[in-house]
């Protein structure tokens, strides 16, 4: 059966070479991160110009329209010969000037594509000319899926651009300032983590999406610590540690109570302070109606906010039976402990490569799944209730995460939104 080529039993997944290999890329419903351009546009007061072939521009343009940031996104389509012969520099410079005069941005992002990456296009002169003439920050980044899974990855390139902006802005260390990295939608300032950090003495808490302007952004350079809650934030955190001396702690968003306890203990070790999180735990436990999951056959996809393996562990602990985990790439280093735990406690779980071209061929294999977490899992599990838990819906941390999980479960079971609508109406899968 073709489906056997797309999956591996959790107990057999011991190293990255065991992960099912996709000879060609099929559906691949999620590239496990936010769009490079979208991420960069989190910078306050920024406007982006993307230059490249129509095919590459259309994807980012679609995302810009679906996510509602098209007002800050411009495109300059280029002909193949212009790119190859390097005839496009004057057009790019003219386009940048046109945008500056129209938008007066604080930061201008120039985004290239795979073509620029292969050809090694050097926009330094164009960028310098713009900086000299207008005195604004110009950051170059490249949306190059050609570099997915490699070093530097597209996201590393995007975060390098952010680091380049921050690296010379650290005039002093602000002991009462902390950065939270890895948020796309911002964490609530009235939420659990803010409360705990405030109690721990942090008076200034920065997240990129809450920076009001370029001055707020600059303040991030003076923080005493980076707290990373999504693995994408590690890239910037590592650069800031090495280049600016700001240490970081990685505490990824988790759904299991045991794992959240671990995260907070790690955070306490890093901060060298006790955090008063027990009352959040107790309050959360009262709100979790775990019966709703008891013995339910569930699947978890990689488009959720968080690690699908960690969510599978949490679901098992809440009484569910994780039958399938859909992953796009080999597991990240921190996920192997979840895989080990699943091997011991949920040995019937299978891990599927969501990009495998054979996965669509036998969708009936998932007909017994009752609840599918993640829009990508919902595509395959056509009979299941679909709970997106998307990073485009909400950002939570600590014990807020299982509360959100159960709220979404209750809401979607009583008032189901179809997987089709999550994709085509709510644009949760791009």
């Amino acid at each position: 059966m073709l489906i056997e080529k797309t999956r591996i039993k959790i107990t057999d997944l011991k190293s990255k070479n065991d992960f099912p290999f996709a000879p060609l890329e099929a559906v691949g419903p999620n590239l496990s991160g936010w769009g490079v351009v979208e991420t960069s546009l989190l910078l306050p007061g920024s406007v982006c110009l993307m230059v490249g072939p129509l095919a590459c521009l259309r994807h980012s343009a679609f995302m810009a329209h679906a996510r509602g940031f098209f007002k800050r996104f411009y495109m300059l389509p280029l002909e193949e010969m212009d790119i190859v012969m390097g005839k496009h520099f004057s057009k790019v410079e003219a386009a940048l000037k046109e945008i500056i005069l129209k938008e007066n941005p604080q930061i201008l992002l120039l985004a290239g594509t795979c073509c620029d990456h292969i050809l090694g296009t050097d926009y330094k002169e164009v960028i310098q000319a713009i900086k000299n003439e207008f005195g604004i920050e110009v950051i170059y980044l490249v949306m190059a899926p050609l570099t997915i899974g490699l070093k530097p990855s597209p996201f590393e390139i995007a975060y390098t651009a952010l680091f380049e902006f921050l690296k010379n802005k650290r005039a002093k260390e602000d002991k009462k300032a902390i950065n939270i990295l890895g948020t796309f939608l911002p964490l609530s300032e009235q939420g659990e983590l803010y409360t705990l950090l405030n109690e721990a003495g942090f008076e200034r808490i920065y997240q990129i999406p809450t920076c009001r302007d370029i001055n707020d952004l600059k303040c991030m350079a003076e923080a005493s610590l980076n707290l990373v809650i999504h693995p994408l934030g590690n890239i910037l955190a590592k650069k800031m540690e090495k280049g600016m001396g700001i240490p970081y702690i990685f505490c990824p968003l988790s759904y299991g109570l045991r794992e959240i306890d671990n995260q907070y203990q790690r955070l306490e070790e890093g901060l060298k302070r006790r955090l008063n999180y027990n009352h959040f735990r107790e309050a959360a436990q009262k709100k979790l109606s775990v019966d709703i999951l008891k013995s339910k056959r569930v699947a978890v996809g990689c488009s959720i906010n968080g690690s699908p393996f960690e969510l599978a562990c949490a679901l098992k602990e809440f009484g569910a039976e994780p039958k399938a985990v859909f992953a796009r790439n080999v597991p990240k280093p921190y996920e192997w402990e979840y895989i080990k735990w699943l091997s011991e406690n949920s040995p019937e779980t299978y891990v599927y490569n969501v990009a495998h071209p054979y996965l669509n061929e036998e969708l009936k294999a998932f007909d017994d799944i009752e609840i599918a977490f993640g829009v990508d899992a919902g595509v395959y599990c056509s009979k299941a209730v679909n709970i997106p838990l998307s990073r485009y819906q909400n950002q939570v941390f600590g014990y807020e995460s299982p509360i959100w999980l159960f709220e979404e479960l209750g809401e979607n079971i009583s008032q189901e939104v179809s997987n089709y609508d999550w994709i085509y109406k709510y644009n949760l899968l791009i």
């Binding site: 073709l2 080529k5 996709a22 000879p23 060609l24 890329e25 099929a26 559906v27 691949g28 419903p29 590239l31 110009l49 490249g52 072939p53 129509l54 095919a55 590459c56 521009l57 259309r58 994807h59 343009a61 679609f62 329209h65 098209f70 411009y74 495109m75 300059l76 389509p77 280029l78 002909e79 193949e80 790119i83 057009k91 386009a95 945008i99 594509t113 795979c114 073509c115 990456h117 292969i118 050809l119 190059a144 899926p145 050609l146 570099t147 997915i148 899974g149 990009a355 071209p357 054979y358 996965l359 669509n360 061929e361 969708l363 056509s382 089709y420 994709i423 085509y424 899968l429 791009i430």
Partner: protein
């Protein structure tokens, strides 16, 4: 080329090729980095949803490009094609394959040597419009699968009906009903909706109906190769249907009546736009200007094989896909109505009545499920309602 801001860039060549080939049970390989195929699936190709694997990307990475691992990818494509046992394999080029000068034809031959199913080479680069890719795919299909055969009287093929131009299949139903009710047998619909087996019988048709620009080059090929004449246009409105039936019999359409004082601007694919112009002028007396987002000068020629057309151009009509130019024309011309994809409304700041007519090539899947019509009596009903005509 001008900056784009409020509009989406038109899809590129391999999106067009995919639109033509999607329903035919093939395996379409986009020879580029990861994401190339995915963009089509999630943004432009609603037929993807819970369907069989149809479009796949090669998933090229940096070192594959630098080291030229084409033989490895040939192996992978052959292996997947064998396992999936599709009707054919189509290999499409991307910006990456174009820039590094991948020999797509050579790769196609290498794959073909290993497979019994046909392998089509669609030379796209990702910088051309979808029109070019759709034309190439349709011609490759015709050259591979069509054989001369006995003609069936009063039978037609519908050419150029790609979803990027025509939208949801349901929009074509009024045309199919009209043909059926008047004893015209539909052999095949190119661009979707027909199986490969139906497409293979296309050479038996006695007439081709071109409903989208991407079908023009195919119609010419089929006239030269199989002596099948063709007409160009879509019937919009009840009265126009009679004219259309005459056109099928080879009687050219009469010129529209004298327009009243109202004016409309239609923006979109040229055959749909000109067919709508014919309806607006002939039935409603509304003088209409067309902005075609695709180059349509081929439509203005009268080559052998063309039996009749609804394309009646006027000097104000233009081809442009420039956002500032279109914005200027929308706001500065003295038109009362603008009929276009909903995204164009963002360019409108003058007080004019905007009537949405989704064009998937512009707005991708955003308005795929929108309630609108543009063909036959349903189209008339929709436009009259929008125009406030009872």
């Amino acid at each position: 080329m001008d900056l784009l801001h409020n509009l989406l860039p038109l899809p590129s060549g391999y999106f067009g090729a995919s639109s033509v080939l999607y329903d035919l049970g093939g395996l379409i390989v986009v020879y580029g980095p990861a994401g190339g195929a995915w963009h089509i699936n999630i943004e432009d190709e609603p037929r993807w949803y819970r369907g069989k694997t149809t479009i796949v990307g090669a998933g090229l990475l940096e070192m594959d490009v630098i080291l030229g691992k084409d033989p490895e990818f040939v192996e992978r494509i052959v292996s997947v094609a064998r396992d999936l046992n599709r009707n054919f394999v189509a290999l499409c080029g991307t910006p990456v394959s174009a820039i590094i000068g991948v020999d797509l034809k050579g790769l196609t031959q290498a794959i073909q040597k290993r497979l019994n199913t046909p392998v089509l080479c669609i030379k796209t680069s990702g910088t051309e419009s979808y029109l070019e890719g759709a034309e190439k795919a349709a011609l490759a299909l015709a050259k591979t699968f069509l054989e001369p055969t006995v003609k069936i009287p009063r039978s037609v093929n519908i050419l150029g009906a790609i979803h990027l131009d025509m939208g949801h299949p349901q929009h074509l139903e009024p045309l199919l009903s009209l043909l059926n009710e008047n004893n015209w047998k539909v052999i095949s619909i190119w661009g979707g909706y027909s199986s490969l087996e139906q497409i293979k019988h296309s050479a038996s048709a006695s007439l081709n109906i071109v409903v989208g620009l991407s079908g023009v080059s195919l119609a010419r090929y089929m006239y030269e190769k199989f002596d099948i004449p063709y007409i160009v246009g879509i019937p919009v409105g009840r009265k126009v249907q009679k004219t259309y039936l005459s056109l099928l019999e080879g009687i050219p359409p009469t010129l529209p009546q004298t327009p009243n004082s109202q004016k409309a601007l239609v923006i979109g694919e040229p055959i749909v736009s000109y067919s709508l112009k014919y309806f607006l002028e002939a039935e409603l007396g509304i003088k209409t200007i067309v902005i075609s987002v695709l180059p349509y000068k081929d439509l203005l020629l009268s080559p052998k094989g063309l039996k009749g057309s609804f394309i009646i151009p006027s000097k104000e009509d233009i081809y442009t896909c420039s956002e500032p130019r279109i914005a200027d024309l929308m706001n500065k011309s003295d038109v009362d109505y603008i009929i276009a994809d909903p995204l164009y409304e963002r360019l409108l700041y003058q007080k004019k009545k905007f009537i949405p007519l989704p064009h998937i090539a512009m707005s991708a899947r955003f308005y795929w499920d929108m309630d609108y019509e543009y063909i036959g009596p349903r189209g008339e009903e929709y436009f009259k309602k929008q125009l406030g005509i009872t």
